[in-house]
């Protein structure tokens, strides 16, 4: 029975055990080896960190959502062929090459998860938050989404269905949340501030900027 053994359960493949026990030292050791072998440019590492720390984040997805709220033509194109629209906008990069936008309505609430790892639309939302990567979220989102949503302070009415998208392939899902009534008519730049990161995962709702946390 093959399934009782895990992939690569042979010591010879587990070279990672040879690194120091302390994770910070483990990283330092691997980085040193790679630099000395000529396989790593440390300035490239710094540049990647800078991109995800300071440039690529949920404000990018929020702008797309705000534009969809205020421009019906853009919204229908986005829902029909998000991949083409985002490609055109230069937003189809690493871990967001093939994005599908799913719309929340009064009938349906969408929630995104990746049960097998932590796939997430990086070019639109940046690095995933800790809760999204947690074993608890990966385990429970598909089996008890309403309970998880209540842990995020959202109560879904019985009449509204919950559709959970498990990102098992290279398709990344972005939720287009419902626009709050009181934000209708505001300019796009202001609307983007209503769009929370969690609302684009389906684990939150848009909020008035002052109350807007994550």
């Amino acid at each position: 029975m093959l399934l009782c053994r895990m992939p690569h359960d042979h010591d010879e493949n587990h070279a990672h055990h040879l690194l120091p026990a302390e994770p910070a030292l483990r990283v330092k050791a691997l980085e040193t080896i790679l630099v000395e072998k000529g396989l790593l440019d440390q300035q490239a590492v710094d540049a990647i960190i800078d991109e995800y720390e300071h440039k690529i984040g949920p404000q990018i997805g929020a702008e797309i959502v705000a534009k969809a709220w205020s421009d019906p033509v853009f919204k229908s194109a986005l829902l029909r062929d998000s991949e083409a629209v985002l490609h055109e906008a230069g937003l189809a990069g690493r871990q967001g090459e093939h994005v599908v936008v799913v719309e929340n309505t009064t009938d349906i609430h969408n929630l995104v998860v990746c049960t097998l790892c932590s796939c997430y639309p990086w070019p639109l939302l940046g690095v995933p938050p800790a809760w999204y990567k947690s074993d608890a979220y990966r385990s429970r989102a598909v089996i008890e989404p309403r309970k998880i949503l209540s842990e995020f302070g959202i109560d879904i009415p019985k009449s509204q269905s919950v559709r959970v998208w498990d990102s098992t392939a290279e398709i990344r899902y972005l939720v287009l949340p419902m626009q709050p009534e009181e934000s209708i008519g505001l300019p796009v730049s202001e609307l983007a501030r209503w769009v929370t990161r969690n609302s684009m995962i389906g684990a939150g709702l848009p909020m008035k900027p002052a109350d807007n946390q994550v």
């Binding site: 399934l3 040879l18 990283v27 490239a44 097998l116 598909v142």
Partner: protein, 225 residues
């Protein structure tokens, strides 16, 4: 036995939402692991599928104990070793004993190419055959073990939909098949479908008959129901 990375449906603790001021990275070394993994990956020595397989192949005890970026680090170290980029002696000593072949040193990502490399990504859509299944068609899902291309290999078919029946709601086009690609056995692109399962067909205790779960499935994971 389900592998540890296949978590869908497992009993687990409450989810703790992050606080408003939570940093993007909890530790400085987390950022470093992210940067190193992406930079080294950009050399083109392996695919995203091989990276995922390396992480999920960590010993069960490590997979459970490791934080997200420790899994990345463990997977990267093992891949670098298994593909012959670094040796055990080097890992043990913490130093590179010799320069890598020029062929690889020429391919490393430089700082000035970082933005373009991230913006380009690595699309997985390919040209290929027309889809066998169509939207609204009922399909049933094979066992994960029946989709493996090597013993104890990689699949993106989660156990919780194994043997279940769902309905195709979208065809995503033809995409690289992870089951072969993770093992350096070629891309073998196939049609990929979004398949919707009624929650009550997956879980007896499901809260609502209105709820559903959508899972992306390659054609070879599916059979006509």
């Amino acid at each position: 036995m389900k592998p540890p990375h296949d978590m869908g449906g497992n009993p687990a603790e409450p989810v703790i939402p992050d606080k408003p001021d939570e940093p993007k990275f909890d530790e400085a070394w987390h950022r470093r692991v992210l940067g190193i993994t992406i930079a080294v990956g950009a050399m083109g020595g392996w695919s995203i599928d091989a990276s995922r397989y390396a992480r999920e192949s960590l010993p069960r005890s490590d997979y459970k104990k490791f934080s997200y970026y420790e899994k990345w680090l463990g997977g990267l170290t093992n891949l670098l070793f298994q593909r012959g980029f670094i040796s055990k002696n080097e890992i043990q000593s913490g130093h590179g004993e010799s320069k890598s072949p020029l062929e690889w040193r020429e391919r490393i990502l430089s700082a000035k190419h970082v933005s373009a490399s991230l913006a380009a990504g690595a699309p997985t859509r390919r040209q290929g055959a027309k889809p066998i299944f169509s939207v609204s068609q009922k399909v049933s899902v094979k066992l994960p073990s029946d989709t493996l291309c090597v013993p104890i290999g990689h699949t993106r078919l989660p156990h919780y939909i194994s043997g279940k029946t769902g309905v195709i709601i979208k065809c995503h086009g033809v995409h690289v098949l992870p089951n072969t690609n993770a093992h350096f056995l070629g891309e073998h692109p196939e049609n990929l479908y979004a398949v919707e399962f009624q929650a009550r067909t997956l879980w007896e205790q499901s809260a609502s008959s209105l709820d559903s779960v959508v899972v992306d499935c390659w054609e070879s994971y599916l059979e006509q129901a």
